[in-house]
Symmetry: C2
Subunit: 196 residues, 2 copies
């Protein structure tokens, strides 16, 4: 049986979404087929509108539908938290404790993938620091090889400005089992142990 062309096409688009295989894409497509025309038109519009209206904040690189995002517009730039991707901003915002601005790098340094300092938004971070007022940079890139390398690289670049540069602490996760923690994490947790 040849699949119906427009169904095939929709399944293809869905299976391009991150982490979606053919079976899941099929489920999504069937879901769309079973919805009424109004709903589906709204869904399609939401996709086009979001893509059209949303772009990077001119200051921090996070997604926004304005020139400068709400965070940059309303918070002081004393502390800047540097993250890899926009979704990391959401994660840190959930903590509700951080009241500074962000800087989204849109990637990490990765020689293997041919991604150097010019391919991620490091220059923009330097400009923000040069404009003054920044007292601390928190490096919140992922605790993996690339994230670590990027954090080290940026901290060396920023040294001359004499501002405080910090890194998220590393150790065992809350609620996790020591038994299942990997040895690198455990080693770090031991090394950075705190008096109680």
């Amino acid at each position: 049986m040849n699949q119906i062309e427009s169904l095939e096409r929709l399944i293809n688009f869905f299976s391009n979404l991150p982490g979606v295989g053919t079976k899941t894409a099929q489920r999504y497509a069937y879901y769309v087929l079973n919805k009424d025309a109004d709903y589906v038109r709204d869904f399609a519009n939401a996709i086009v509108e979001a893509n059209k209206n949303i772009h990077y904040c001119a200051n921090c690189g996070n997604f926004t539908d304005k020139d400068i995002c709400d965070i940059c517009a309303t918070r002081p730039n004393k502390v800047i938290c540097v993250v890899k991707e926009p979704k990391d901003v959401l994660a840190i915002e959930k903590v509700k404790d951080f009241k500074g601005q962000y800087h989204v790098l849109h990637g990490t340094l990765s020689p293997l993938d041919n991604r150097g300092p010019d391919d991620i938004k490091i220059k923009e971070l330097l400009t923000r620091v040069q404009q003054g007022g920044v007292e601390e940079i928190i490096m919140a890139t992922n605790p993996d090889v690339e994230g670590e390398a990027t954090a080290m690289y940026i901290s060396k670049l920023l040294k001359p400005f004499g501002i405080k540069i910090t890194r998220l602490s590393q150790g065992v996760s809350m609620g996790s089992d020591i038994e299942y923690a990997d040895e690198v994490t455990l080693a770090r947790a031991l090394e950075d142990r705190k008096e109680i």
Copy 2:
């Protein structure tokens, strides 16, 4: 931080897809934001077009973009395989051994969910049988309580027509472990054992 409105809207639509939670919907939305406008317009069009062009085959109830689907148009109606949903047709088509037509019920009988014989396409199946030419009905509804009940109900309805009514065989799955097979399946496999 208030999320951006059009992003929020898109995430909502994605999280309505079957089996998609907020985190996954967010990933999908960010994927859309990062795509260029042309691709996104095509994606949106694919959704609207599929929903507009595809409807149920007037004969078997499977999805098609014509009046009568390719399977019904090209194959004899001697054997009809009755399934619950369109995706079951895809699964059986993959076997490539079945050369008959299908009948999609679009559901199973389920008193708990208030789904009776009039809510699924049983009447349409009866009409097809009454029109003549059908020699065998294969009941390929799922081997669960509702699927079994539906198969029994339909087979009783079709008894008066004197056609052969069969059910997919049940037993242990190929490549599975006897150790992990549930007892109902094992009991059925023992009962239906075959001489080799």
